[in-house]
């Protein structure tokens, strides 16, 4: 199942190598658990440095010629959540361009969510066991 990272797949988009990492991890899981994967569920935060659209675009190429060919990638985008030390509360932010508490304006030194880049679930089917040899 291992295939070389082809340089022909194109430069300057690290989402493709991220997609290939996701495929590799999912393939490991499929082998270990003896299942066929129909879909991969991913949590993605805006501070991960990975763009959902570019990842979706890369998915098909990354799955090519692997057991994941034809599978779906389902991305749940996780908003940035910070802890505000002034309010002593967690706050969700609309933008990564202003990491401050939306209520009191205190700069956020503690980011709780938003860096996620993780496979959280797989939609799988059990592999059909090969027909058992008939006992004599």
């Amino acid at each position: 199942m291992d295939r070389p990272r082809s340089p022909r797949l194109g430069p300057a988009m690290h989402e493709l190598s991220i997609a290939m990492s996701i495929v590799d991890l999912a393939l490991d899981e499929a082998r270990e658990r003896r299942v066929t994967i129909d879909a991969v569920y991913l949590d993605l935060g805006p501070l991960s440095g990975v763009v959902a659209d570019a990842l979706r675009f890369s998915w098909e190429i990354a799955c090519q010629d692997t057991a994941l060919q034809g599978s779906r990638l389902l991305i749940r985008e996780i908003p940035v959540e910070i802890h505000c030390s002034t309010c002593n509360a967690n706050r969700t932010l609309d933008s990564v361009q202003w990491l401050c508490c939306p209520v009191c304006g205190t700069p956020a030194l503690e980011v709780i969510h938003g860096k996620e880049l993780a496979i959280i679930a797989l939609e799988v089917r059990d592999e059909q066991p090969a027909a058992a040899p008939r006992s004599a």
């Binding site: 340089p7 430069p11 996701i22 899981e29 990491l99 401050c100 089917r125």
Partner: protein, 224 residues
């Protein structure tokens, strides 16, 4: 016929492999007493000039070396070698960023000896390198005065992933009507509390403050 689909819960950090290698690099550097500093910026922001100046000034008193990543050419390594410090080029081909495994591989075939500081110059790119831990103690993001004060707002993720911002080419600040307070406000907006230095590799302005910070605070923090 295949069986019914079902949902299997897993939790796998996609960059686990990179993070594991980065952690082992960090442990190795820590045990050797080497402080590792990486540099990211857009192409042409002045990483190589800044690094050449830093290496040249540190070389007489500290053991320093540099790894430099580029899509192609060894030009940067040749430039940096003028500092007399050991330099190794990593040519990434079409890859837009360095990964921990590339650093590990480069170190397997290149031994600069015991070091106080190892610098890793990433490929010029403000997007892709942000996701990859290279085992560094300190990540610098560089921004030149000619790039516009809103760069941190346009690339918040890389600024958020970095520890220190270096504003470069300040000898050109007046010519391009650079607004230093605006850039500071933008840096602080995307990465509250971020340390900032303004430097010119050409005139040497601001370099002393940076080196003092590096050889004092940073080195001490890395040693602990």
């Amino acid at each position: 016929m295949s069986s019914q689909p079902r949902l299997l819960e897993v939790r796998k950090n996609v960059l686990k492999q990179n993070d594991l290698i980065a952690r082992s690099l960090r442990d190795r550097f820590g045990a050797q007493g080497t402080c590792v500093v990486s540099l990211v910026s857009s192409p042409g922001a002045g990483k190589t000039a800044f690094l050449e100046k830093t290496l040249t000034l540190l070389h007489p008193t500290c053991r320093v070396a540099a790894l430099v990543g580029d899509l192609a050419t060894e030009n940067d390594a040749i430039r940096l070698a003028r500092s007399q410090a050991p330099v190794k080029q990593i040519t990434t081909g079409t890859l837009c960023h360095l990964e921990a495994a590339m650093v590990e591989r480069a170190l397997a075939e290149w031994n600069p000896g015991p070091l106080d500081f190892l610098f890793i110059e990433n490929v010029g790119n403000l997007v892709c390198p942000s996701s990859y831990d290279l085992g560094e103690n300190l990540r610098l993001v560089l921004l030149s005065v000619t790039e516009g004060e809103d760069k941190p707002l346009k690339y918040p993720t890389i600024f958020n992933s970095a520890d220190v911002a270096i504003v470069t080419k300040i000898d050109l600040a007046a010519a391009v009507e650079f607004d230093e307070s605006a850039v500071s406000a933008n840096i602080q907006a995307v990465r509250p509390g971020m340390r900032q230095f303004s430097v010119s590799a050409k005139t040497g302005a601001g370099i002393d403050a940076w080196l003092q910070f590096l050889t004092g605070e940073v080195r001490q923090a890395a040693a602990n």
